[in-house]
């Protein structure tokens, strides 16, 4: 097995197929407050759903209307089209759009008499002791449901086993991200994005192996040297390296990000308190920095963006907003001024899941690069 799979951003269903072929269950997951450790401990394979390469989302549009985020709508399309052949969905209420993907998927499923497994975790948007205990209760209920569904008891031992594995992956991803700090990094934005996307499709063990192989080989890779500007990308869910390619073809190189499908998904380590394993999981997932869905850590998010930009010696930030994405769309109110203060140039662009007007992005990116290149 080679690590080449890391660089194929297409949705791969082979791992899930193989898993299910053994008579085990696999579920789709949506959003950032679904702890994979728990799902694995219940003997179930989590597959983080995405919409890469979805060209036509008209069925999704029928259910979610044109006034919906096309990333979410395209996931529903893939679900309806059977691109993801899974045993159910576990979601957390990130923003309203994935919640509606969940609702519609469940509704359509019932209508078609399928009755697969559906559970939505209510994840708090404020971090304090009270909200943490609410989240713990929500996770307890998830565990009960999962146990019933898979017939596997979720034990502290199993949870710890998977926490260790996911922690290992976190370390490895952070090491990959470190590579981007070099003046002439051996991976560009497209590469990194593909590596992160691969995580969604494969069991964690397989992913860890691929990362290790890649890291061992990394120094043999040819560094990128032609770049005119170092960029960071932030904004709405982005699961399409093709988007980054357009910008990198114009001479930029992405060296950092603050994206759902990016470094931000693998921060730090999940510290286990042996006396309260579930509580440790809840604490990690609730406290880690996610996105503007959280109401009280915007300042930290902004700080993270600015610090990362500095740490990775970024010349400018590209802020992509999905159309109808309020979550990220509204973040500019204070962020714009803060970036200005920090002296970091910013380019804001609108986009849709399906890359329709590549030319328009290209011209903006090129002009931005001309503006910031040294």
């Amino acid at each position: 097995m080679s690590y080449q799979k890391l660089f194929d951003s297409k949705i791969s269903t082979e791992a899930a197929k193989a898993w299910r072929a053994q008579g085990k269950k696999a579920v789709g997951t949506i959003c950032c407050h679904v702890p994979d450790e728990i799902i694995r401990a219940a003997g179930i394979l989590p597959v983080r759903m995405r919409a890469t390469d979805c060209v036509d989302s008209s069925s999704g549009e029928v259910w979610m209307s044109t006034f919906s985020c096309s990333f979410a709508r395209s996931i529903l399309q893939y679900w309806m089209d059977g691109v993801y052949d899974l045993d159910g969905i576990v979601a957390s209420d990130g923003c309203m759009m994935p919640s509606r993907v969940f609702d519609n998927a469940e509704y359509i499923d019932k209508k078609n008499g399928k009755n697969r497994f559906f559970y939505q975790i209510g994840a708090p948007r404020i971090v304090n002791d009270m909200t943490l205990s609410y989240y713990v209760d929500e996770l307890k209920e998830l565990i009960e449901r999962l146990e019933k569904f898979s017939g596997v008891k979720v034990t502290d031992e199993a949870l710890k086993e998977y926490i260790a594995k996911y922690n290992e992956a976190r370390v490895l991803v952070q090491q990959v991200a470190e590579l981007r700090k070099a003046d002439n990094p051996v991976i560009n934005g497209q590469d990194f994005s593909s590596i992160i996307l691969a995580y969604t499709d494969y069991p964690i063990e397989e992913y860890i192996e691929m990362l290790k192989e890649f890291l061992a080989d990394a120094k043999n890779r040819k560094p990128y040297t032609e770049q005119r500007a170092r960029l960071m990308i932030i904004g709405s869910a982005l699961d399409d390296p093709g988007y980054l390619k357009i910008v990198e073809d114009k001479g930029g190189i992405f060296v950092a990000d603050a994206l759902c499908f990016g470094t931000r998904a693998f921060p730090g380590q999940l510290e286990v308190d042996d006396k309260d394993v579930l509580g440790s999981i809840a604490k990690y997932y609730l406290e880690r920095l996610v996105c503007p869905r959280m109401m009280d850590d915007r300042a930290t998010l902004h700080e993270y963006i600015i610090n990362t930009a500095k740490e990775y010696k970024v010349d400018g930030i590209i802020y992509e907003k999905m159309q109808y994405c309020e979550c990220w769309g509204g973040e500019s109110v204070l962020l714009e001024d803060e970036l200005k203060e920090a002296g970091i140039p910013l380019l804001t662009v609108e986009r849709e899941e399906h890359l329709a007007n590549a030319g328009q992005l290209a011209i903006r990116a090129e002009a931005f690069i001309e503006m910031i290149e040294k």
């Binding site: 140039p345 609108e350 328009q360 011209i363 903006r364 090129e366 002009a367 001309e370 503006m371």
Partner: protein
């Protein structure tokens, strides 16, 4: 059965120009900028950084040809050939299709630089209104871009829409501005600036008995409102100027000024050539930098 176009009211006048004060350019550093826009193509040649000749014509269906034609037309009667130019920069949406260019640079960077030259170093906000898009650009005293914003996805409120209306009402684009002020009272803007719907809306208004002038006023008004939003978003910092083809349409310009309560600087040359001038200036800088290094 090909379509027979009756009179092309949208066809604005093409032009070329030669600086009467420069008789001889031997020994001068010649740099050029060629701006292939969606609608128009300009070629500008600078002699030691001073405009020497330029041409301004419509972009044909083939960008490389447009570039060559524009350049030839500009150089006509000067005795110069394309090869005599030291360094050429292509810009505009067809910038990669300038066969004889040494480099290409986006029209955003070029327009800022060009505006800085045309309007002087106090210029801070530039609104470039072209055939298919609109850009609000900020720049510093050197004409370097500090931020910019463009219209997205929808071409509503661009020159192309104006051309459709011109054709529909049988009014030359050049005359739209003046006619649009021949109304007793400013009508409400048309509700849709979509190229297609504006046409049907204008048709509907005509059917309801509106005069051409009133329809034009309503359309210019709508277009001004649309770009003003872009300007507001990017922030307005004087001095302010408008470049691109629509800058010649006073019907839109005056309305923008009124809504924003600002005065745009008076252009000293053809506003459509700002991009090409900028490109030629950047070409000059590059040559000088190279020479200094050598």
């Amino acid at each position: 059965m090909a379509e027979i176009e009756k009179v092309d009211y949208w066809r604005w006048t093409e032009s070329n120009w030669r600086n009467p004060e420069i008789a001889d350019v031997t020994g001068c550093l010649l740099t050029a900028g060629v701006d292939i826009g969606s609608t128009s193509t300009q070629a500008v040649v600078l002699a030691d950084g001073v405009p020497f000749v330029y041409s301004n014509m419509r972009t044909g269906n083939n960008s490389p040809d447009s570039a060559i034609n524009a350049m030839n037309w500009a150089l006509k009667d000067t005795g110069l050939k394309t090869e005599d130019i030291e360094y050429t920069i292509g810009t505009g949406y067809g910038r990669v299709n300038v066969p004889f260019s040494n480099k290409n640079v986006t029209e955003i960077t070029c327009h800022a630089r060009g505006a800085n030259y045309i309007y002087g170093p106090t210029i801070r906000t530039i609104l470039d209104m072209g055939g298919q898009d609109c850009k609000a650009i900020h720049c510093d005293e050197k004409g370097a871009v500090t931020s910019f914003m463009m219209n997205d996805k929808c071409a509503a409120g661009t020159g192309r829409g104006m051309e459709v209306i011109a054709n529909l009402l049988a009014v030359r684009v050049e005359d739209i501005g003046e006619l649009s002020f021949k109304v007793d009272e400013e009508p409400d803007p048309v509700s849709s600036t979509c190229v297609i719907f504006a046409k049907s809306e204008a048709t509907k208004l005509m059917r309801e008995g509106w005069t051409k002038e009133k329809v034009l006023a309503a359309y210019c008004h709508a277009m001004a409102l649309r770009v003003v939003r872009l300007l507001e978003r990017n922030g307005m910092e004087p001095d302010f100027a408008i470049t691109g083809g629509i800058a010649k349409n006073m019907g839109v310009v005056k309305r923008i000024e009124r809504i924003m309560n600002v005065k745009a600087l008076e252009p000293t040359m053809d506003t459509q050539i700002a991009g090409a001038v900028g490109a030629a200036l950047i070409a000059k800088d590059l040559v000088e930098k190279k020479r200094a290094k050598a």
